[in-house]
């Protein structure tokens, strides 16, 4: 287990256990590995066109040799998974990453957070933080009419204090300000 990874409780099994890594259970692991390996192979093949080779001669001093080694390493790492995938008849249930189905909360929050940087650009830091937090909490399923706006407001204030007042970091003028001036 990685030091930075999620931690299951010692006594009780977590409600959403990841598949036993390395157990070979679940074709999802092999499928992800094989797809990544295929992408690495495609990049490996396309590398001569994706890397400008007008650099120095000989080849070993050039810009292409290291990416080729890296991609070959990735492809080699994925090869066993690809081989297993080709040889194994997979039951439909094996394709589930875990038994909890589609992660709606994570997907919803991720979608809101994708819009967040654009909101910063358009509306400015503080307003964007307030709206993104409100939307993020709602998308993640935390729908408390009083607590959610309060949390959003507190974080917006803390962000303003940390980034603008304390660190004095420059943020571009919100586009909305430009539009309103026009």
């Amino acid at each position: 287990m990685s030091d930075s990874g999620a931690v299951p409780p010692a006594a009780e099994p977590p409600p959403m256990p990841a598949l036993a890594a390395g157990s070979g259970a679940g074709a999802a692991h092999d499928l992800v590995a094989a797809l990544l390996g295929l992408a690495a192979l495609a990049l490996l093949a396309a590398s001569p066109w994706l890397v400008d080779q007008s650099g120095p001669d000989p080849f070993y001093k050039g810009p292409l040799i290291f990416p080729l080694i890296a991609l070959a390493l990735a492809a080699a790492g994925a090869a066993p998974a690809g081989w297993r995938l080709l040889r194994r008849a997979t039951a439909p249930g094996d394709w589930q990453v875990d038994g909890r189905g589609f992660p709606r909360a994570a997907a919803g929050l991720f979608a809101v957070m994708c819009a967040f940087p654009v909101l910063i650009l358009a509306l400015g830091l503080q307003v964007a933080v307030f709206l993104a937090l409100l939307g993020g909490l709602w998308a993640a399923g935390w729908r408390r009419p009083l607590a959610a706006p309060a949390v959003a407001l507190v974080l917006a204030l803390l962000v303003h204090l940390a980034f603008r007042t304390f660190l004095d970091i420059w943020f571009p003028t919100p586009l909305l300000g430009d539009w309103l001036r026009l």
Binding site: D3, S4, G22, K61, A106, L109, C114, P117, L137, V151
Partner: protein, 509 residues
């Protein structure tokens, strides 16, 4: 050793003290919260370090690194839910003590163990770093290449049951580090015609995405806290219990040394350190039968070992420039972003910085102990914060931090993409550390490879012609194969002990 006092004033400077206290408190918070951990704390604070001096930035992040291990013991003891993975060993004895109404005894043992382990490891770091640095001073590009490659490979090998996935992620990480303009030749690589890609993929955005965003999305899916079982008799630590804990000073000393030396090795990290120290303590104990039923000695062993790991991990980082795991890889990133390149000459070139780091480590351990001991209940209560609120706040702050660095939407996009990838990998329980190692080590390995190939006129045989590279490769091979050989040996011994059927067929395992 005179240089030790060069950084004394810098370590006790106001801005450094503020940074290390903030870092330590953040570390304690993310350590107490199961599902986050010090890595999330470090990457969230990473964008704040750009406006700081190198020593202050490192103190801030080292505070999170060490504080995280201190904090992880609290939920492990009170809720049997480890805040950081290595604290799972602390819960073996900590939670039974809590159930018997002796939570204060368990917490005293864990905190004294953490402090003792941290201090022992700093002493070893101070003594060992110059020795290793002296050896590394005779390193040329081939030696560095051998050390860097084998360091990265050892991290992959540490996840023995996921060798293929580790290699795959290492390869992807190395490749990601090549995107953008190649420094020596100024050739664009894998930019796909996008202007923004010419600067490469920002290290901070990638690491923040993988851990800050990926881990937070995962947190949403985990309802792992049982906060109704918090049992604490008072707000602060019961200091009268500390004297009783000091009876286990031999265990503390031994576990601290074990933790430091395991921290030295790339890959295994604090989980292995805790398990090994616990096992050794149990074997050496006069009452081994008490282990697992609630003995403070078990808490001391586990916490001393896991808290010794950060200083142990600093030894190869400072002397060779090779991080042993993801947390020290982030520290390496901070060094290089500040134009400081760890290696054998670092102790000669930057003695004040190194000295400041040593003093800061010492202060961090003392601050973490004091803060947690005095505000034990408030920190324990942090686990009551809803994971949804935490996840949303961490992602929002991560994205603001990334945007603040260059005010580029592109970096936020990189972080979000990395976050999605990180979420998938964490959910699959893949070794994400291999990916981070690849991203951070990529530029270093590429530089050394070019220099080595230039020295060897295109041939890598030069690696086999130099005694030091051969020695490095032999040591790494030994470390990589020892557990496997030991397992084979144990297997064959078991087979010998079992009564055979005369056919010579090995028993089915």
């Amino acid at each position: 050793m005179e240089f030790l006092f060069d950084g004394f004033a810098a370590a006790f400077a106001f801005d450094n003290i503020v940074a290390l206290v903030i870092g330590t408190v953040v570390g304690l918070v993310v350590g107490v919260l199961p599902g986050l951990g010090p890595m999330v704390g470090m990457v969230v604070l990473l964008p704040f370090t750009f406006s700081l001096e190198a020593s202050v930035a490192l103190s801030l992040l080292l505070g999170v690194f060490c504080g995280g291990y201190f904090g992880g013991a609290v939920p492990a003891i009170l809720l049997r839910t480890p805040g950081v993975p290595s604290s799972i060993v602390t819960s073996f004895d900590g939670f039974p003590l809590t159930e018997r109404g002796e939570a204060q005894t368990a917490l005293s043992a864990a905190l004294v163990g953490s402090l003792g382990g941290g201090l022992i490891s700093i002493v070893i770091l101070v003594l060992l770093a110059p020795l290793l640095s002296g050896i590394a001073a005779s390193f040329g590009p081939p030696e560095y290449l051998a050390a860097a490659v084998l360091g990265a490979l050892l991290v992959v090998v540490a996840f023995r049951n996921q060798l293929g996935r580790g290699l795959l992620l290492l390869g992807i990480g190395l490749w990601l580090s090549t995107v953008g303009i190649d420094g020596p030749t100024l050739s664009p690589r894998y930019t796909f015609g996008f202007w923004d890609m010419q600067n490469g993929l920002d290290l901070v955005a990638l690491v923040l995405g993988l851990f800050g965003i990926g881990q937070s999305l995962l947190l949403l899916e985990q309802g792992i806290l049982k906060t109704d079982r918090l049992k604490l008799s008072r707000n602060s630590l019961d200091f009268s219990k500390i004297a009783g804990t000091l009876r286990y000073w031999k265990t503390l000393l031994r576990s601290g040394v074990i933790g430091t030396f395991i921290g030295l090795l790339p890959g295994p990290g604090s989980v292995l350190a805790s398990f090994v120290a616990y096992d050794v303590a149990k074997r050496r104990s006069r009452k081994p039968e008490l282990f697992g039923t609630g003995t403070p000695e078990g808490c001391v062993a586990a916490e001393a070992a896991n808290n010794a790991v950060p200083a142990g991990a600093l030894i190869p980082l400072l002397t060779l420039g090779i991080p042993g795991e993801a947390l020290s890889a982030v520290l390496l990133g901070v060094f290089t972003l500040n134009g400081i390149y760890p290696g054998p000459l670092l102790l000669v070139k930057e003695p004040a910085l190194i000295s400041t780091l040593y003093w800061s480590m010492l202060l961090i351990n003392l601050v973490a102990f004091a803060v947690l001991a005095v505000w034990l209940r408030p920190f324990a209560m942090i686990v009551k914060v809803p994971p949804v609120v935490l996840a949303v706040c961490v992602i929002a702050v991560s994205l603001i931090g990334i945007y603040a660095v260059n005010t580029r939407l592109f970096d936020c996009g990189v972080a979000l993409a990395a976050g999605l990838f990180g979420y998938l990998l964490l959910r699959l329980n893949w070794p994400v550390v291999s990916l981070v190692m690849g991203i951070v080590m990529g530029p270093i390995i590429e530089d050394r490879l070019r220099q080595t190939l230039s020295l060897g006129e295109g041939s890598l045989w030069i690696l086999f012609e130099r005694p030091l590279t051969l020695a490095i490769m032999a040591v790494a091979l030994l470390i990589a194969t020892t557990p496997w050989l030991r397992a084979r040996l144990a297997g064959s011994r078991r087979a010998d002990r079992q009564p055979g059927d005369g056919s010579g067929t090995p028993p089915v395992r």
